[in-house]
Symmetry: C2
Subunit: 218 residues, 2 copies
């Protein structure tokens, strides 16, 4: 069993080594966790002894397989709870992070198993990020522009390229927000326009619109 502090370090290092690719520097961890480098050194040395990560002085830290497993479980919990908060308690997607930060540390594998089932084993959280399955497997996703999808593919809205007021209002009107699933029903070869499905709504979007929306795809 890992302490709250340990879990938070593991989670942070996991996220950092996704982006920064490879070993993570002491300073990077410190900055990301809003703490001091000296504190990070201490903790990283402790976690290294626990075989959660490998650590070479002055070089940085890198999670072991065990460490990644722990991190993945935390991420799974975090994202499932976010789905719960949004889908069941009707929170808005941008209000749930803080609460999920707390809920992700609740210890009970049975709880998560049942929560997952209760939520219908969702594949994405309300921000459009993929939820690892119970074995820790992430679906490998790619961030693309909506315009890059083909007919009968789908994507989860994760952001916009340029955010003009008009565009955001358009998305709002069409009930597209972060985490929304978008099915591509058809695509016009000639002008790149598409027919998409959002919820139960089906409508037409121009290439200009589809070029401005980022989606996460499998």
């Amino acid at each position: 069993m890992y302490s709250l502090a340990e879990e938070n370090y593991i989670k942070t290092i996991f996220h950092l080594q996704q982006t920064k690719k490879g070993v993570v520097s002491t300073n990077a961890i410190a900055e990301s966790m809003d703490t001091k480098a000296s504190s990070v050194t201490d903790m990283v040395q402790k976690l290294s002894e626990k075989k959660v990560l490998s650590y070479v002085k002055y070089k940085g830290a890198q999670l072991t397989e065990e460490g990644k497993k722990i991190a993945t479980r935390i991420v799974r919990k975090h994202r499932l709870w976010e789905v719960f908060l949004v889908d069941k308690l009707e929170f808005h997607w941008d209000e749930v992070h803080e609460i999920a930060e707390q809920l992700e540390h609740i210890h009970s594998t049975e709880l998560i198993k049942r929560l997952d089932k209760f939520l219908g084993s969702p594949a994405f959280d309300p921000h459009g990020d993929p939820i690892p399955d119970e074995h820790g497997n992430f679906v490998k996703t790619e961030k693309k522009l909506l315009s890059q999808l083909h007919k009968s593919q789908f994507g989860i809205c994760v952001g916009v390229k340029e955010s003009s007021t008009e565009y955001l209002q358009y998305l709002d009107k069409k009930k597209i927000s972060i985490g929304t699933k978008i099915n591509v029903l058809g695509k016009e070869f000639f002008d790149g326009s598409m027919v998409i499905e959002v919820g139960t709504n089906q409508f037409f979007v121009s290439k200009k619109i589809a070029d401005n929306l980022y989606v996460q795809t499998l």
Copy 2:
């Protein structure tokens, strides 16, 4: 904001002063929390400075109004989460305590407001204990025998007087367990037998049966 340790002390003292009536001794707290008396003394002195309880050396501790408020909020959270675990995640009522012990420390008033609404503002938890409302008011309940109820009253099953195998099997068959709501539809003056409703089922119970079941009533 109170720490995890502080919240646990406050909660424990709250429960102890319900039963033991009045001031709570250092040893009682220590035993109940499975810790040492010396640790209790330290914490109780700290909480006294924070005006959460009044404490007289060698005499014991007693929660202030503020302390009771904090305790009540924790109890409310604990019991609402238990309802969630049983009603929504289909845990059995005797499996949920540990998990609720963790969930009760999640900080977010909005979360509890929404959880309560989501659950239909339940008045009792799965053990038949009353859930304080958002202002901290407990419905004042009384523990009675089912046989003491009158027509059109209801009670929440909280236990049995004598537990023979046959009796427990009977309850099982009738889908009566801890936390089950029982409506008294009719009562026969002559022999004390009753017609009760459990879920959507309505059936007859003899006085002997009704005399053996404890229920919580408003």
